[in-house]
């Protein structure tokens, strides 16, 4: 047998801080053969990036390899000299990073940054190096390579930047490519393009890949073997089929129950959070790291000693699990307890948005604009939005970055005023009412949950005082004791201990902060709550808990929830109605079932297909969109989606705004394609013939 490309044995990595040694990764083993792609999956802080950087032997000033070996083609990286390492880096092992913008030098042209690699490793001259760079830019399917070579990083889009970084990694034909969350910073339709590119390059360049991600769906779509990490250890490893179909670790099963799957929704399979939160590295429990969060925990056994990685078979590279009870648990019968959701009838209409429009005025200070004399331009952040929301209903607004979701939320909250159109909230038109001019009742009945857990609470004040302020402000209670009681009650509602009232935000985890944010939003008994991506910055296992909580409170209070998200698959689990936006305009709206089944708007169809799915019993039709999201500064005169549409009809799409067709009352699609044709489109997801999944229909007809 040939030597594997990468062989990691008993690797232990630590960071040394003022608090002492922090073991970031313990006992890590991995073998990667030529042409293989291995996936490393886990939540934030579990040590994925540390492993990748260790393979480059680059752990910064305070990190170090404390044990084990990393063999690259048989040579141990740990013991290499500085010069040997330098020659290896970039030439034999190359890396692709999470934030492409930050990974590129802002004051150097892309051409020079690319050319450096062959100049440094192969000693070629500048002209040859640039030529090679240009070829590679073509290979990563960047149109107009010459222009990009001369550009600075900030002049190209995020998707293009990531392609440049990939080209840079491939320039010296490395045999090992490390991809550290290469698509996390990108929009989902752009991500689909990069994922496809990476898969193809694997074939064309014959590299072996280590693919790091927190997204099980992406791992499933890109990798041959997967390593699930939790708190510095691999807890389960095996081939994709082994791990995804016969999962044998409680953490991995927990992850699968916490993420959305195609073909199910909140009524038949609610998301199940993993309770508790990730332990900090220096506060790990004795025995099994997952113990405190595990439903199968057995005192005396699980918390006794370190749990070894058990092989499930005698195969040379077996399915392995770090759990002593893996063969005792009845995996098929096990169902975590969840409260099933009852379907609710929506009540009277609370919100009606009519032809709402929001333009931002931008002064273009560039020289060219001055010459043309047109230095005032408009960003069309929202263009004739119309939809309704009813009492008790959850309406989701979905779209990629820059589609105008947050702008809409701002107008609704009165932080901006609409340029045109009406927003009727409980009968009053609030489109032109900035928050200062709204009555206290209007303000109190329309509240918001924010996106970023680290910014949603004021770090200078205690949790309790921040909730109390809202209660006082809205005049719910005035007596200090009563206010305090109500703060405690709200903390109970969001399932936080009462003594959190005295804590400061920095003592809370991300999920806990979001809970406080929810408590604050509901403190004034609002009629409607807007949640702008409330969980997208949280870890997967916590996301589900916060989402569930939000839905529960909403149901108990009969509140209308406007849920803003970029993730179509999550929305399916909580929305009654979905509004799909693109470049400031509504492309499609309807009930959740209507949006998730044909007829689709072509953009909805592409968006559905772009979402990576972790369920191996489903197959999806792959639709990869060309190019990047255009800017809202120059929206096309016809259909906004025309520049990327996979079903583009021709000139009419570019020149004429599409009509709105209504296959069912309330289900609206803005597209030139005749309805009959749209109805003939097959569903994006279909059950595999040999799949052994449940018998749920893939899509509601």
């Amino acid at each position: 047998m040939t030597v594997p490309i990468l062989e990691i044995k008993d690797l232990c990595l630590s960071y040394f801080t003022r608090a002492g040694e922090i073991p970031a990764v313990v006992d890590f083993n991995l073998t990667l053969n030529e042409g293989e792609t291995a996936g490393l999956v886990g939540e934030s802080g579990c040590g994925k990036s540390t492993v990748a950087l260790a393979i480059m032997n680059y752990l910064g000033d305070n990190g170090g390899i404390v044990g084990g070996s990393i063999k690259f083609k048989g040579r141990d990286i740990v013991t290499m000299s500085k010069e040997e390492l330098r020659r290896l880096r970039g030439a034999d092992i190359a890396m692709v990073y999470q934030e492409p913008m930050a990974a590129l030098n802002p004051s150097m042209t892309i051409g020079r940054q690319l050319a450096e690699v062959p100049i440094c490793h192969e000693g070629v001259d500048m002209a040859t190096a640039l030529k090679r760079a240009e070829e590679l830019l073509d290979a990563v399917r960047l149109p107009d390579a010459k222009r990009i070579l001369a550009a600075y990083p900030h002049q190209i889009s995020g998707g293009q930047q990531q392609r440049v970084v990939i080209a840079m990694a491939l320039l010296s034909k490395p045999s090992l490519l490390l991809l550290d969350e290469p698509t996390t910073a990108l929009d989902v339709t752009v991500e689909a393009g990069i994922v496809e590119l990476i898969a193809d390059l694997g074939h064309d360049f014959g590299t072996s890949n280590l693919y790091i991600s927190h997204n099980l769906g992406l791992i499933r779509e890109t990798c041959d073997r997967v390593f699930v990490m939790y708190s510095g250890e691999v807890v389960e490893e095996g081939s994709i089929d082994e791990v995804f179909q016969s999962t044998r670790h409680p953490y991995t099963t927990g992850l699968f129950s916490a993420i959305p799957m195609p073909g199910s929704d909140k009524y038949d399979r609610p998301l199940v959070p993993i309770r508790g939160q990730l332990p900090l590295p220096h506060l790990r429990p004795k025995g099994c790291n997952f113990g405190p969060r595990c439903d199968h925990f057995e005192a005396g056994r699980c918390d006794n000693r370190r749990i070894p990685l058990d092989r499930l078979s005698e195969a040379p590279r077996p399915h392995a699990v770090r759990c002593i009870r893996w063969d005792e648990i009845d995996w098929e019968a096990y169902r975590p307890d969840v409260t099933m959701v009852e379907q609710m009838e929506p009540g009277e209409r609370v919100l009606r948005v009519e032809e709402m429009q929001k333009y931002y005025e931008i002064t273009d200070r560039s020289f060219a604009a001055m010459l043309r004399g047109k230095n005032i331009r408009f960003v069309k952040a929202n263009e004739s939005l119309s939809f309704d929301a009813r009492r008790q209903q959850t309406v989701a607004i979905v779209g990629e970055s820059g589609c105008g979701k947050s702008t809409f939320a701002k107008v609704l909250m009165g932080l901006e005023t609409a340029t045109e159109g009406r927003i009727r909230f409980n009968g009053d038109d609030i489109a032109d009412l900035p928050v200062e001019q709204r009555s206290p009742e209007q303000i109190g009945s329309l509240q918001m949950v924010f996106q970023n857990p680290n910014e949603t609470l004021n770090p200078s004040h205690t949790v309790g005082s921040q909730i109390a302020r809202v209660i006082k402000k809205f005049g719910i209670e005035t007596d200090a004791r009563k206010i305090e009681q109500r703060v405690f009650k709200l903390l109970d509602t969001v399932k936080l201990p009462r003594d959190f009232a005295n804590r400061r935000p920095r003592q809370l985890s991300g999920g806990q902060k979001q809970r406080v944010g929810i408590a604050r939003a509901f403190a004034g008994n609002p009629a409607m709550v807007i949640a702008d991506e409330p969980v997208s910055a949280l870890d997967v296992s916590v996301q589900a808990a916060v989402t569930q909580l939000l839905m529960e409170i909403q149901r108990d209070h009969g509140t209308t929830l406007l849920f803003i998200s970029h993730d179509l698959s999550v929305v399916r689990y909580l929305a009654d109605r979905i509004v799909v936006m693109y470049l400031g305009q509504i492309m499609e709206q309807g009930t959740t079932d209507e949006v998730f089944s044909p007829p689709y708007h072509p953009y909805t169809e592409a968006l559905l297909s772009a979402v990576p799915i972790a369920d191996t019993s489903f197959e999806k039709r792959r639709i990869v969109l060309e190019g990047d999201l255009p800017s809202a500064m120059n929206t096309p005169p016809g259909c906004p989606f025309a520049s990327r549409c996979q079903r583009h009809l021709g000139d009419i799409c570019d020149t004429t705004p599409p009509p709105i067709v209504e296959p069912e009352p309330g289900h609206r699609i803005a597209c030139h394609i005749p309805l009959a044709e749209l109805q003939a489109v097959p569903p994006v997801f279909s059950q595999k013939d040999d799949g052994d999944g449940g018998d749920t229909p893939v899509v509601a007809a």
Binding site: D61, S107, Y152, Q155, M370
Partner: protein, 311 residues
């Protein structure tokens, strides 16, 4: 770019204009007190009135202002009371001397500070970094007059190596420049070192430096090609703005070493209520400061492709 330049220069002129109004209001509004300063306190009301009449101080305020402004714009600053000569005769000479002093200081300060700052910032927290940082904190803590006293005590009094004054009475003598330059350098270099260090340390933490290292570039190239260019943008601005600081520093140093420069002139004028000289010096100082600020702004924009080419 042309528009940008025009804007910056226009803005600079506007600042000068506002400053001139302020100065005018501060020093000239009360004609009576001007007369007292010019003619001395022991003059009669009649004498003052005649003087005021002759010099047009009974005209409306705005006429006087524009007249005054026109004078300044054409280089006519009036007659110095103390030196009994046209202000401009003395001013340019003194300014030239200060320029020599400033240039000598900069010639030492900039290369030393940038080198030390880069060295310190390259490895944040290393022994070298701590040493350089603490030294720079130490030297910025000693006011110029104190270091002048201490250095004069060591080099003039104890060792007898250097002259204690820099009056240059026997013609230009570079040796007399050593102590003033040293004092200015000691007080000023710490700030520049710390700015450079902070900028360099920040750049060294950025992902693109990691990219450069993991590309396999030799460390020298990582520093020279990737780090320096980005790390020196901020210190460039600081260097330009330090000229403003230098104009303050020279007042003390020139006073102490009896160097015949601009700072000593301003001080002397102020202490003697030489009103036209004060105006002229202040206008010149502000002009220099505003000009360097404008250059700093333009340079910053030029060095920074993100701003230069729009984002």
């Amino acid at each position: 770019m042309v528009i940008f330049l025009a804007k910056r220069v226009g803005y600079m002129l506007l600042t000068m204009l506002v400053v001139s109004i302020l100065l005018f209001l501060l020093l000239e509004v009360n004609g009576e007190s001007v007369a007292v300063k010019v003619l001395g306190p022991y003059t009669s009301i009649e004498q003052r009135n005649i003087w005021l009449e002759n010099n047009g101080y009974f005209r409306p305020l705005y006429v006087r202002y524009f007249d005054w402004l026109f004078g300044i714009a054409t280089g006519d600053f009036g007659q110095s009371i103390r030196f009994k000569a046209p202000v401009s005769d003395i001013l340019w000479d003194r300014l030239g001397n200060t320029a020599i002093l400033g240039a000598a200081t900069y010639a030492i300060m900039v290369p030393v500070s940038l080198t030390l700052g880069v060295l310190a910032g390259m490895k944040e927290g290393s022994a070298l970094d701590r040493t350089i940082s603490l030294t720079s904190i130490g030297t910025t803590s000693v006011p110029e007059f104190a270091s002048a006293v201490l250095l004069a005590f060591i080099f003039v009094f104890t060792l007898g190596w250097l002259p204690g004054t820099s009056a240059m009475s026997g013609g230009f003598d570079p040796v007399q420049l050593i102590l003033p330059v040293l004092v200015l350098f000691l007080y000023g270099f710490g700030y520049l070192v710390r700015m450079t260090r902070a900028s360099m340390a920040e750049v060294m933490q950025t992902p693109y430096i990691r990219t450069a290292i993991l590309k396999g570039l030799p460390y020298r190239q990582v520093i020279l090609r990737h780090a320096l260019r980005n790390a020196l943008i901020a210190p460039f601005t600081v260097i330009m703005l330090q000229i403003n600081w230098l104009l303050s520093g020279v007042i003390v140093v020139e006073f102490f070493f009896a160097y015949k420069g601009f700072g000593a002139l301003l001080l002397e004028a102020s202490l003697n209520q030489d009103i036209y000289m004060i105006q002229a010096c202040a206008m010149v100082a502000v002009f220099v400061a505003v000009t360097t600020q404008t250059i700093a702004d333009i340079g910053y924009t030029y060095l920074n492709p993100r701003i230069r080419l729009g984002g």
